[in-house]
Symmetry: none
Subunit: 264 residues, 2 copies
């Protein structure tokens, strides 16, 4: 395809607005990371986060495959786990090309793009941040990663051949974001009082940890094999509520209150 | 990304309708041809035409990079010139990621997709066919190729980094075409496993009542005037999660379990 027009300055029409981070979870090939970085920059996205890339980091293959999107590769941040990678984010989307057997809010790339622009517009000054998770090449995201997310972006593809190249998936979502005008917003929105803000993932993680600790003590997870699934389901349903920071504190109060021995 | 669902038959919702052919003009790397074929099949497109591929044809690299879209590669037709490749077509589009210094009708991938569906719908039975031209990797299409086309599809990308991978360009156009065929469903929906259903309001009410009763007993609402607001806030956040009937039961279990601990 056509090359970059070097007479243009590298400013975007959206250059001053905040943009979502792209998070690749356990990507395998440096090649794919590089192509994803190139696809990101095609769509004006620059913040790349990597969770445990299989072949190590930095990667010469990634840099070569980025075909000039060197800055995205060089500034990529490395994390040990998905929850570390999303800790400072206010909203997280997970991507998939096939339906999952899980209760979750599902949207399209365009639907997500509208929501993201709206969320960043509303939260921008307060520092709300958005990230989009992409799974490893062959298998996609694990259900545990999905449970950390607020909604699922399902990329509509041929159901008989839904195996999407990683960079292609990044492009499908990024391009929907890029193509949207700044003034286009989602019809449905989550209004929230001015004095609060969306909970950050680290705050949610704190709530989940607190709840699970108390439930462990109370013997709720008495069938040990079922614990992981039950934990995931609990996290998933609380996640979906789109909690504010204030609400997370309220729920922690609820957990403490219910489990505290009655004062007599 | 997620794999192909082998339980699905390879038929598309659009399977009986005619579809545009993808024409790669002088593609250089077999790898890129293969990735383009994969992107095509992701979007339900199967007819690939090649004009003078630099490294010859057939290509093992192309077959490997197609990642399963073998049929597209194997049925690809070879041509000596762009005009040979489009001879039987009723309408031809050329793609580019940068403005051209030429007078021509320019549209977006979505705009072209609408036109193509309309053209094929009207002309389908009479045998009208559509093709979309993509240029070589580094330089894009020549002006001579553009002159053979009815309109230009300009793929909107970051003007400061418009160098699109060939397969990415094919996907951008193909996906717009594929996406139009989807039923006009809401962009966002709540997916849930088959064996459960959305909780009824009475079930939610039961959960709320249960929770509030235990919180009353635990002394959570110790500032009596604040009770109504706190109750409303709790109901509101749980409401927003869009709970299933199964999840309501799980949360009731959580409340019971935490409270039992308090009571021991």
């Amino acid at each position: 395809m056509a090359g970059t027009d070097s007479t243009k300055t590298p400013s975007l029409s959206h250059s001053l607005s905040p943009r979502p981070a792209i998070i690749l979870v356990e990507p395998q090939l440096g090649d794919n990371i590089g192509m994803a970085a190139r696809a990101m920059l095609n769509c004006g996205l620059e913040e790349l986060r990597l969770v445990k890339p299989r072949d190590g980091w930095p990667s010469d293959e990634a840099l070569a495959a980025a075909s000039g999107a060197d800055g995205v590769i060089e500034k990529a941040a490395l994390f040990d786990s998905t929850s570390d990678a999303i800790a400072d984010l206010g909203r997280v989307y997970a991507t998939t090309a096939r339906p999952r057997d899980m209760t979750c809010r599902v949207t399209t790339p365009t639907g997500a793009a509208k929501e993201i622009r709206q969320f960043l517009g509303a939260e921008g000054e307060a520092g709300g941040k958005v990230g989009i998770l992409f799974g490893r090449e062959a298998k996609g995201l694990k259900n545990d990663d999905l449970a950390l997310s607020d909604a699922l972006i399902m990329i509509p593809v041929n159901p008989a051949f839904s195996s999407l190249n990683l960079a292609q998936a990044v492009f499908a979502v990024g391009h929907a974001w890029f193509g949207l005008g700044e003034d286009e917003t989602s019809e449905t929105e989550l209004a929230m009082p001015k004095e609060t803000r969306a909970a950050e993932k680290a705050e949610l993680e704190g709530l989940f940890g607190h709840l699970e600790e108390e439930l462990d003590e109370a013997g709720f997870f008495h069938v040990t094999e079922k614990r992981p699934v039950m934990v995931r389901n609990l996290r998933n349903m609380l996640q979906r509520a789109g909690l504010t920071e204030q609400e997370v504190r309220t729920l922690r109060g609820v957990v403490t209150s219910l489990s505290a021995k009655r004062k007599t």
